[in-house]
């Protein structure tokens, strides 16, 4: 893990920084999708992997950010950049409101309730509640990205926008791993009762994890809306949440594991397009196999600065 932080991560960042100049249009679009879904998967990891809450509704927060940007831009004429704060705050607030009454639920119940939130959300979008979500077709024709008079409509600038968001997310994750809230979440996941008895307010920290994960997913939603200059309900169906959920767990809730998972789930199918119909069939088998061979994930996370002699098994985490 240390090796990865010192060498792997900088190499990955440098590679991603120069990547778009080596790709044609189609692959640039794929690379943007990779960046966006990597951010959503990492935000899901905060809730599911770091805090250990079975959240299967991450597409809801992702979609909420995308729709916030789309509605403010399309209906109220805000510039895309100006919608960013609200695209973070609104999902985060919803994260707090929705998580508040349910964080005490036991694992599987939480899973079903978050699926429920996701399905209710999509149904609200499809039924065009309040006449602003555009119904089943969604909203299209968003403005392109512009900042201080410069029109950043080329695909490369969208790429760097997405890249910036990913860097921001990685920075948040890094700080989370080395800070009090991050340690609190870790103890909470390992043993809630023990965490409570050493004075961690588990309820507050669980809601905090939801708010943070929701805010980051919302920001990714903005990038998504910018990339397609459109949003529609089916992009945020709960099957997407299932994918993010699986990516985090198959990846082992570590940053390289999750990035690998996103790559396999969203980039590899673009390479093997002729097998498109076999995609989920193969993924299904891969998920079963990965879990049987490596129940803690392909690249299990290790946590922060716990001395080695305190860790009983080397497979610590997940």
């Amino acid at each position: 893990m240390k090796k990865y932080e010192r060498f792997g991560l900088p190499i990955f960042i440098i590679m991603m920084a120069i990547l778009p100049h080596m790709l044609n249009d189609r692959w640039q679009a794929v690379a943007i999708t990779f960046l966006i879904f990597a951010v959503v998967a990492l935000s899901q990891d905060i809730i599911l992997g770091k805090c250990g809450m079975f959240n299967m509704g991450q597409a809801l927060f992702f979609g909420m950010g995308a729709y916030t940007t789309a509605i403010l831009n399309n209906e109220y004429g805000w510039s895309v950049v100006a919608t960013i704060p609200l695209a973070i705050i609104i999902p985060a607030l919803f994260g707090i409101i929705l998580a508040g009454p349910i964080v005490h639920l036991r694992g599987d119940y939480l899973l079903v309730v978050t699926i429920g939130f996701n399905i209710v959300f999509v149904q609200v979008l499809q039924n065009n509640l309040g006449g602003i979500t555009g119904g089943p077709n969604g909203i299209f024709g968003l403005d392109s990205l512009s900042l201080m008079g410069y029109d950043l409509m080329s695909q490369i600038s969208v790429y760097y926008f997405a890249f910036l968001v990913l860097l921001l997310t990685l920075w948040v994750m890094h700080n989370l791993a080395n800070s009090k809230p991050g340690r609190a979440l870790h103890y909470l996941r390992e043993d809630q009762l023990a965490a409570e008895s050493i004075g961690i307010n588990t309820r507050i920290y669980k809601i905090f994890a939801f708010a943070l994960g929701a805010g980051i997913a919302g920001l990714a939603g903005t990038v998504f809306a910018v990339q397609y200059s459109a949003v529609s309900p089916e992009a945020f169906e709960f099957i997407q949440s299932v994918l993010f959920f699986s990516i985090v767990l198959v990846g082992g809730s570590s940053i390289p594991g999750i990035l690998l998972g996103v790559f396999v789930m969203f980039v590899v199918p673009e390479i093997f397009r002729e097998f498109a119909t076999w995609r989920y069939f193969i993924f299904g088998f891969a998920m079963i196999l990965a879990m049987i061979l490596r129940p803690r994930g392909i690249w299990p996370a290790t946590f922060g600065k716990i001395p080695k002699f305190l860790i009983k098994d080397s497979n610590h985490g997940a």
Binding site: F54, P101, I102, H104, L105, R106, G107, D108, Y109, L111, V112, V113, I115, G116, F117, I119, V120, Q123, V124, Q126, N127, I239, V242, F245, S246, L249, V250, T277, W278, R279, Y280, F281, F283, G284, F285, A286, M287, I288, A290, M291, I292, P295, R296, A318
Partner: protein, 298 residues
């Protein structure tokens, strides 16, 4: 009043299908503490298997004997699939972290769902008319023969299952395993065969449910399993997950709830209302209607 009685009849029909499927979820959860996400897709697969048996094996015969054979064969096929599923995807993960088994179940669900798509194609298929279209008009309330059969057969199966679980030695083994697997093993119960038995029963009941869905709604698609599965799972939670009579009650209540929402409010909001009901129930009474209060904090 007419709407009320009509939706009551529809609700009981849908509810008995939910209940049949919910039994599969609740029995597996009771013993293994695992949400068998693949169960819904098994239900969908059963409708397609029934379709194929009807066209390929039975030569499109719709006599009573042929229909019975279609039901038995479909249940048999799905029971085999269920046992294989448990062997391949769940047994290796019994000692693993809980979430690993959940991911494995999701993977199995994707495999079955997309397996259906690869075999039978992505388009909607029309389920054969195995039961003649007979309707009775009871003073403004229309009831079809299919509805009567679905309700009656479901009730028979549920009562049979209840008696099996409560009155037989094997039923006692199932109940013991769901209370404490280790203690059950110490008492000489072969938990592995209990789990296999549960998958056989749950999958066959789900298979019957899938055929009912085909008979009642006619159009079957490869991805319908998630929807019915989710509803059935909610029904199981509603009644108290792990509790067999609870799943039956929860299924019926959810079917009625859905029918009345569709009848009085709007069917486009049915999903949303169902989940709002679920969320409220979990906040107020997380163990469901018939679930026992457990000491563990939920």
């Amino acid at each position: 009043m007419d709407i009320f009685l009509q939706q009551l009849a529809n609700g009981l029909t849908i509810g008995s299908m939910f209940a049949l499927v919910a039994l599969g979820y609740t029995m597996v959860y009771g013993v293994m503490k695992l949400i068998n996400f693949a169960h819904g897709d098994m239900v969908a697969a059963s409708a397609f298997v029934g379709l194929t048996i009807y066209t390929q094996v039975m030569g499109q015969a719709t006599s009573l004997a042929a229909v019975i054979i279609i039901f038995l064969l479909s249940a048999l096929v799905m029971a085999c699939v269920g046992v294989i599923l448990e062997r391949v995807a769940y047994r290796p993960l019994r000692e693993a972290p809980r979430l690993s088994a959940v991911v494995s179940a999701l993977g199995a669900s994707l495999v079955i769902q997309n397996g259906i798509m690869l075999i039978w194609g992505p388009r909607m298929r029309i389920f054969p008319e195995l039961v003649p279209q007979v309707y009775w008009d009871l003073g403004g309330v229309v009831i079809s023969l299919i509805q009567v059969i679905i309700l009656a057969l479901s009730l028979i199966l549920m009562v049979a299952l209840y008696l099996f679980v409560e009155k037989t030695r094997m039923g006692a083994a199932i109940r013991a395993s769901s209370i404490d697997q280790d203690a059950a093993r110490l008492m000489g119960i072969n938990v592995n065969s209990v789990i296999a038995l549960i998958f056989i029963i749950g999958s066959s009941l789900g298979a019957v449910g899938g055929l009912f869905i085909g008979l009642y709604y006619r159009g079957i698609t490869f991805n319908m399993g998630w929807q019915y599965g989710l509803y059935a799972f909610i029904a199981a939670i509603l009644g108290g997950i792990g509790n067999i009579p609870g799943a039956m009650l929860g299924g019926m209540l959810l079917g009625l709830f859905n029918a009345f929402i569709a009848g009085y409010v709007s069917s486009t909001w049915a999903d949303a209302f169902t989940f709002i009901l679920l969320i409220l129930i979990l906040i107020v009474r997380p163990t469901g209607i018939l679930g026992e209060r457990v000491a563990e904090k939920v």
